[in-house]
Point group: C2
């Protein structure tokens, strides 16, 4: 085995060392006075209570799924029962990534509050350190996990069999490795959906009774649901987001590797370079994310926090691009071909570049549609002056409009990266985009930490200036949350397409032809799934919030002295309710995502003479992806825009020549939009990412079982593959020649 | 030419005779007292003012489009400048259909009010007579137009050339005929979108100032916007709906004829039977719609109006099914084949049957999701008790959920009808579903007439019992409006698929392969279009409503004595504002629908070596159709459910053991949902039908220009077609054999 294979986990280890160092630095920071520590302890224990409850349910799920996978692994030659082990490792690492993030976030929050008593600079340092522990931890675990398992499976199935890197043996190694991705993504689904339901049920519940009925401010210690609300930030925005991006990161790399296997490459590494490239790009991105974190700092109270974060982000991206150029040219030869598409090393580099550009544009566009002071948010502000209904209409209209540019960018990205390096180009573009995931996630996770820090400052009655500093961080956190979602949905879309391409290869089909009625029917059904998924997620928030409302009302009624600060509310009961409700409600949407591909893949096998079940499944996946991306963008951006329209009133806005502030009828209308937007932007919208990725991974996992290739063929497939490729290369060459003549 | 060809326009003539008879009967009815007649005259003149303004703009558009079409007709052999004539006739007939409907509706409304002073039975008789004039007029004009133009073009291009019915000559005849459909659908787009904006701008504007600011009831003569509001019902729900279904009806028949040309049929009519069948089915449906109208009657005050309408509807459907059985078996032989798919006469009959079942199921499901007292509406009612935001969340959730069953029915319908008779099956299923369009439209148009009648009763201060009777009719009208929309979107979906299939044939492509990156990119872009279209439509209502609000405020301010009934408001100024705003705002969404297919079809010609521009356009159309159908259902049903949730409070509802009525906070929250739902269900939602059909028709029209077939090939195409078909037939036979062995 070439030494370069062993380099990959090393990158991951370096990241984890940094994670450990930062984490221990945070723990050493001052956690403030006793009451602050007490509140932080409630939040931390509430968050752990949720994780434990979630893990219990997921434990059962994982065991059953692993058994099924192990059995299925015995049925075809290109899989193995070992896939179950791979699955379990993926699930455990995903859960661990969520745990690391949440653990550090619940420590960093109170320490950020305490740091904010000194200076903004110090508060940023602590909160961003927390975020970077999360980011580096997630990406580090992913790279170590994928890298080490690849070494093991490569050794077992390929090297020890003396097989080639393009053959069925490597396909088997990657199919078994796909179990890792399935494990990661399954946990991510439940973490994202469950966490999303949790955080919004607590938020809406706390607001409805606390702010509206009891008339006490947000984050007031007298509100029994306030701890649950703060727990929710960690559960949804930290652990959920972490598991989501862990899943995307792994799935993207894996899909690119699967496509890489099919590439005939005469490189200096025995032809394995196209398979290794995505992991190496991830490793490089990880290292430069570490470098980038050092740029995130401010010195004066008046420095822009957003600029500091941008500097860190852009420096890691630019350094990764430069390094990718050298790595790609070092690894790959000038002649590559995949399924008849010919390209060279530089084409691959440009595809990576396209991916990074798409990611950056997505963030910029998302920011425009959700930022305060820009046209879209201002239009909602203006429409709030004529009431609740026009505020809602304005937000829905902005959300729908906000899909236009991202979709055009995405479509251009797909077509451009494809034209550089075929399907491998689309996949490696996704991998390029995801390379600096560690940095993206650090910036993202910093937001909820700052949010929590503000909550603790409020609950502990710290001076105005402390709250002012945490508010400054929190406002930046709102923007990064929105842009982070733009990045997440775009990466999910490219990941899904990469998985889609990998699926097509393994399932042995050559078209996904909409001209066939069953494929077209499946496209319709697939496109409907994000609608029912969103509907269930939104309705779940409503139901869980009602449970919370009833509990808070009960406590106000039955525990005398809460309102006079004489009695402590039973925070843990609210935490338990949110936990229970969210775990109950996440099951049905989760089941839909997992079961539908199985039903279509196995249930329609051989039913239609004109269309095979993998082709129908392909139509279904296309429908889910297209509709999921649109619904995700629509809901995320509408929610973000409503939120900032409401926030605009806090500073005061000029409507029809009159200043309107908090408390005006227009502001009240804007609160309605914000509340509607909550489940949109924090529950159903972000779930779309996982939905589309998970369904594609399930399809990839079952691909060998529903494949059109029969047993006999499979044995000789490795060799046939090579021959076919060479034939096609010639044809494609001719085609290229013709095009140039035109 | 066989005599049966001449039978088709005869059906249309019969329908128009009935239309004239009914229409003159309505005019002879008592129009009530002077003030009633005065109000009716305002509404009628307002409606005509809108039509005139719209026609003026559309006149310019039609002339330019016709010139372009005439020029384009000179460029390829399978078209002709005559297509421009065909286009103009389609546009004029579509406008005429809208005019007939609106003319009779503005006469029937006041006569229904007057009839309601006598009995419910008489009020139903008058209002339904108005609806049936509209329905029979629309369908009659369509059948006459299509039937006569077909005779002319068939004579010119086929019979006089001595050509076969399967050849390029017939393709040319049908391509020229497609201009008729384009004309009809273009007018429909503007009528639907413009009408939709008009009606909701007037409605929202009237409510915001009248009900909310001035505190006067709905339909109060003192409100300057009240006439505009009543005009809106006619403009949007009558003329807009009529033009929409006229377009669907024509497009469906045409698409089936285009596919029918490719069928090799050894029938007794020289092989033309598959081309004639859709027109004959339409003719039969028209006759039985006339028959069905006689069943719509009640005798007692307590009889159910809904049951009377259902009886009329079902009798026309069942009679059409029975007649279709005989017609199909009379016309078609037992052996037919289309693009390699083999089927017989009975298969075609079953496909028609599938279409009728799909249409019926759509109506039933839509009714469930939007009717009072059922789970979905009740859930919104319950969620209204916790405020505006939860009411909105509830409605959005219901709307999204409501897509599930219709999509499953639609997908099953596509696959089943395809399995019976290939693509011809899908198209003829749509034709079957549309056969009783006259009856559907009669039931649909009856609603706004009853609504207007109620408005006139209120404005003229007639006794309680009159308003009670018109309310009874209006309530049924709300349900039929919702189910009518379910029918319209389902028929649009099947029509679009039929057009899609016809497009594929004429463009000379054999796959629409999502595996090709440009096709997949186009799918994304296509799916985005319904989002931006909806966004524009919704925002347009907001803008136009603001104009209206300002005008009403001005009149209250500047015209003294309005509130004391001493001065008459300037109704016509409000009408003019709504007219101007709606016509201004309809242009951009309309342009998108017309221009995007041109850009993709011509702009991407030869750009990608792997995917031809027709194939990319195919991907775009698939995206538009899938996403448009979902967005249409989502918006229509959410809007309908919100409306009836609000109406539930008028009767009183039980929430948490307490009765809540009009005026309660929960009712106020439900009004917010209703207002949000207005543009959803009456502007953007129903526009989706036209959007998806129009883009498909534009594609079909430009298909010969972007076709992959080159000039040389085209000349011999007729013969080649035949040969290819025979070859494929054998292959398909083998495949069938193989399947049976399995």
């Amino acid at each position: 085995m070439h030494w370069i294979v062993f380099l990959i986990p090393v990158f991951g280890v370096i990241a984890l060392i940094f994670t450990a160092v930062r984490s221990s630095w945070i723990k050493k920071q001052d956690a403030g006075e006793k009451n602050m520590q007490e509140l932080a302890a409630y939040i931390a224990s509430g968050a752990m209570a949720f994780l434990r409850a979630e893990w219990k349910v997921l434990g059962y799920f994982a065991i059953i799924a692993a058994l099924l996978l192990a059995y299925s692994g015995t049925l075809v030659e290109t899989s193995s029962p070992i896939i179950a082990v791979s699955f379990i490792i993926g699930a455990v690492l995903s859960a661990t990534a969520g745990y690391i993030g949440m653990n550090v976030a619940t420590k960093a929050n109170v320490r950020t509050t305490q740091a904010a008593r000194t200076s903004l600079s110090k508060a940023l340092k602590v909160s961003f350190a927390g975020g970077s522990v999360m980011g580096l931890g997630v990406a580090g675990l992913a790279v170590i996990g994928l890298g080490s398992l690849f070494i093991v499976f490569y050794q077992i199935y390929v090297v020890s069999q003396g097989a080639t890197v393009n053959g069925m043996e490597m396909e088997k190694a990657l199919e078994v490795l796909a179990g890792f991705s399935l494990g990661a993504e399954s946990i991510a689904l439940f973490a994202r959906v469950g966490g999303g339901i949790y955080t919004k049920a607590a938020d809406v519940g706390a607001d409805l009774v606390g702010k509206v009925e009891a008339g006490i401010p947000e984050d007031d210690v007298r509100n029994p649901a306030t701890i649950a609300d703060n727990v929710g930030d960690n559960v949804g925005d930290v652990a959920g987001m972490g598991a989501d991006l862990f899943g995307s990161y792994v799935a993207t790399i894996l899909a690119t590797m699967v496509l890489g296997r099919e590439i005939v490459s005469e490189d200096d590494f025995g032809g394995i370079a196209p398979i290794l490239l995505p992991m190496l790009i991830a490793g490089i991105g990880l290292i430069f994310s570490i470098v980038g974190t050092f740029f995130v700092r401010i010195s004066k109270e008046t420095d822009s926090v957003q600029n500091a974060l941008n500097l860190g982000n852009w420096s890691s991206i630019i350094l990764t691009v430069i390094a990718s150029f050298f790595v790609v040219n070092y690894l790959l030869p000038d002649q590559l071909s995949l399924r008849g598409y010919q390209f060279g090393a530089m084409d691959v580099f440009w595809a990576i570049f396209v991916g990074l550009v798409v990611g950056a544009l997505m963030s910029v566009i998302t920011e425009y549609y959700t930022a305060m002071g820009k046209r879209p948010v201002n239009s909602i502000v203006r429409q709030s002056s004529t009431g609740h209904a026009t505020n809602i209409i304005g937000g829905l209209s902005v959300g729908m409009e906000s899909t236009v540019l991202p979709i055009l960018v995405l479509a251009a990205g797909i077509i451009t990266s494809y034209s550089f390096a075929g399907l491998y180009g689309v996949a490696i573009a996704a991998a390029g985009m995801m390379a600096t995931t560690a940095m993206q996630l650090a910036i993202d996770a910093f937001g909820p930490i700052a949010d929590n820090a503000g909550g603790i400052a409020e609950m502990s009655g710290l001076p105005e200036e402390v709250r002012h500093r945490t508010d400054n961080l929190d406002a930046v956190g709102n923007t990064t949350a929105a842009t982070g979602k733009g990045f997440a949905i775009a990466s999910a879309a490219l990941t899904a397409l990469a998985l889609f391409a990998a699926f097509v290869g393994i399932a042995g089909i050559s078209t996904i032809d909409l001209y066939k009625a069953p494929v077209l029917g499946a496209l319709f059904v697939g496109a409907m799934i994000p609608f029912i998924f969103s509907s269930l997620a939104i309705a779940a928030v409503g139901k869980a919030a009602m449970d919370m409302v009833n509990e808070v009302r009960r406590q106000f009624r039955e525990i005398p002295g809460i309102m006079e600060y004489k009695a402590r509310p039973e925070y843990e009961k609210c935490v338990a309710i949110s936990t229970k409700a969210s775990i109950r409600e996440m099951l049905l949407p989760g089941a839909i995502a997992l079961v539908v591909p199985l039903l279509v893949g196995f249930g329609l096998k051989g039913v239609f003479p004109t269309a095979s079940s993998p082709e129908i499944l392909g139509g279904l996946l296309a429908g889910v992806t297209v509709s999921g991306v649109l619904m995700g963008m629509f809901q995320n951006n509408a929610g973000g825009a409503w939120d900032n329209a409401k926030k605009s009133f806090e500073k005061g806005v000029l409507i029809n020549g009159k200043m309107e502030y908090k408390g005006s009828p227009a502001h009240k209308a804007s609160v309605t939009g914000d509340t509607v937007g909550d489940p949109f932007k924090d529950t159903s919208g972000p779930s779309m990412n996982i939905l589309i990725k998970l369904m594609s991974i399930v399809a990839l996992i079952i691909a060998p079982h529903i494949s059109e290739r029969t047993g006999e063929h499979e044995v000789n497939k490795g060799i046939q593959d090579q021959q076919q490729k060479k034939e096609v290369v010639i044809t494609s060459d001719e085609v290229k020649g013709m095009t140039e003549v035109e």
